[in-house]
């Protein structure tokens, strides 16, 4: 039987759901990593989420441009929204792949700050996804969410340098210093990208006239 064509909204909803699940899994795996309980095979789950998100993104774009409606600028903006969100899961996948080959246990001296950093990572991505969902119906609330992302990024920036300071001062093995700082930077890049995307959302909200 021929599969029923899904609506734009259904695909978008599933796309967002997959990113959320992906970031939750990543957060969980980072927690396991901090607690020295990481099962590296589970990181493959993130790669699968990323692949699924790519398929959903393609399906969404196809539907977006197939629907010959009379407002291409909204179509263009929706296209940018989904491709921007896809870059988040791409960056999360990069963290997962890196973590898979990272050869050390996390240094004990950074564990507490790393936990906070991990929390900010989860919150930033979750807020961004929520922002992308509510921008459809509520510009004001979406703007507030975008501001939250900015706040998380700022805090993450402080934490990143706190961690790096400890790593550079306390860890003696140069390879471990280099690889750990690289891991922190990759996680921070996800949060930073969230802020960039949220800035784009804020630009959209300002661009469209609303009450």
């Amino acid at each position: 039987m021929k599969e029923k064509k899904r609506s734009l909204e259904e695909v978008n909803k599933e796309f967002r759901k997959r990113i959320l699940k992906g970031v939750e899994l990543m957060h969980q795996l980072l927690s396991d990593f901090i607690n020295n309980r990481l099962d590296k095979n589970k990181l493959d789950g993130i790669i699968l989420f990323e692949k699924k998100c790519d398929r959903l993104e393609e399906e969404y774009i196809e539907l977006l441009y197939k629907k010959k409606r009379a407002l291409p600028f909204v179509v263009e903006d929706r296209y940018k929204i989904i491709t921007s969100l896809d870059t988040i899961i791409d960056k999360i996948e990069l963290v997962a792949r890196y973590l898979k080959v990272y050869p050390f246990e996390p240094p004990d001296i950074i564990k507490n700050i790393f936990k906070k950093f991990n929390e900010l990572f989860l919150r930033a991505v979750k807020s961004l996804i929520k922002c992308s969902e509510i921008i459809e119906n509520d510009f004001e609330e979406a703007y507030a969410q975008a501001q939250d992302v900015e706040e998380y990024r700022r805090n993450a920036y402080d934490l990143k340098f706190e961690i790096l300071e400890i790593v550079f001062k306390e860890i003696k093995e140069p390879v471990k210093v280099y690889l750990t700082s690289k891991l922190i930077s990759l996680i921070y890049n996800v949060i930073s990208r969230c802020e960039e995307v949220s800035d784009y959302f804020r630009g959209l909200i300002v661009k469209y006239p609303h009450k």
Partner: protein, 320 residues
């Protein structure tokens, strides 16, 4: 009448309709607000040019320049006026500049009137009266679109809360705008055609239906070949959404219609360009660079078409 003369009149009629089509900016706000692509616009304009010409173009317009010239209005004068008007329209269309066909026509009349009848060859009072409205047209367009944008945006922004509601409202505006612009294109084609076929039908040179088909095709090919440039140029003067395009286009069209009923010669092209400038001012958005070129062409339209008419007159009487 010999064949070469019939062919000359036919050629002039095609050139005029081509020139008018080439400077037709009716669909520019549809292009600017991205309601349709240029390809879709060209298909629609061709359809409406042909339909409008065929169904509304039968009322052949009065002799060109009748009210303005104090000299005898011969075939050579009419042909000169029409050719120089068409030449100036094509020239400005090549540079993507929308101009007023009336201005170019009156410029040609002034040129030929001065050349043949001197200072007393023209009804200066009437020309002065018209000039007053030429200056006033863009000012009216600017002010009206500024005010109408403020009112419409106040009304619609209260209803926009997210992307979905924005899309819904803009969709409504885009359909309304599209219907109105199509009707305008339909009636404009009829009006333009009646100007272009006057020289053919008035002399019973060819069958009116054939004349209408030729004129309609001339209009459509003018839009396709050069009109697209004018449409793109005017449509991108400022950033447009269907609702903002509506607030610039519709009050202007209504005023133009009222002006026509009252016999006030307002220029549609000037009003539209000025209303888009007014809109960008009201929205505090960026305007396209190079507007000075449009204003410059507007200013030189009358002297340039006057000069063209003088230059064209002798070749025309040679043929006649």
């Amino acid at each position: 009448m010999n064949l070469s003369l019939i062919l000359l009149f036919l050629f002039v009629s095609i050139i005029i309709s081509f020139a008018i089509g080439a400077n037709d900016e009716t669909f520019s706000t549809i292009y600017g607000s991205k309601i349709l692509s240029i390809k879709q616009i060209l298909i629609l304009t061709t359809i409406f040019a042909l339909l409008g010409t065929f169904f509304l173009g039968r009322n052949v317009s009065e002799t060109v320049g009748k009210e303005l010239l104090y000299i005898e209005n011969s075939d050579s004068i009419v042909l000169t006026i029409l050719i120089s008007t068409a030449a100036w329209l094509i020239f400005s269309s090549i540079f993507s500049i929308p101009i007023s066909t009336t201005h170019a026509t009156i410029g040609s009349i002034i040129g030929i009137g001065l050349f043949l009848g001197g200072i007393n060859g023209l009804n200066w009072l009437k020309i002065l009266e018209m000039s007053f409205w030429w200056i006033l047209s863009p000012i009216i367009g600017y002010v009206i679109s500024y005010i109408s944008y403020k009112i419409i945006s106040k009304l619609i922004t209260q209803k926009i809360s997210g992307l979905k509601s924005f899309e819904r409202i803009q969709n409504i505006f885009s359909y309304i705008l599209l219907v109105i612009i199509c009707l305008t294109a339909f009636s404009r084609a009829g009006n333009d055609a009646s100007n272009a076929i006057g020289i053919l039908v008035g002399r019973d040179l060819i069958n009116i239906n054939l004349a209408l088909i030729i004129t309609g095709s001339g209009l459509a090919s003018g839009i396709i070949v050069l009109g697209r440039r004018v449409i793109k140029n005017v449509g991108t003067i400022t950033e447009l959404y269907p609702s903002t395009a509506f607030s610039a286009e519709i009050p202007t069209s209504i005023l133009l219609f009222v002006g026509t009923l009252l016999g006030i010669p307002l220029s549609g092209s000037h009003m539209l360009v000025a209303s888009l400038v007014g809109l960008s001012k009201a929205r505090k958005t960026r305007r396209k660079k190079g507007l000075w070129k449009i204003i410059l062409i507007w200013i030189i339209t009358v002297p340039a078409s006057s000069l063209l008419a003088i230059l064209i007159y002798y070749p025309v009487i040679y043929f006649l």
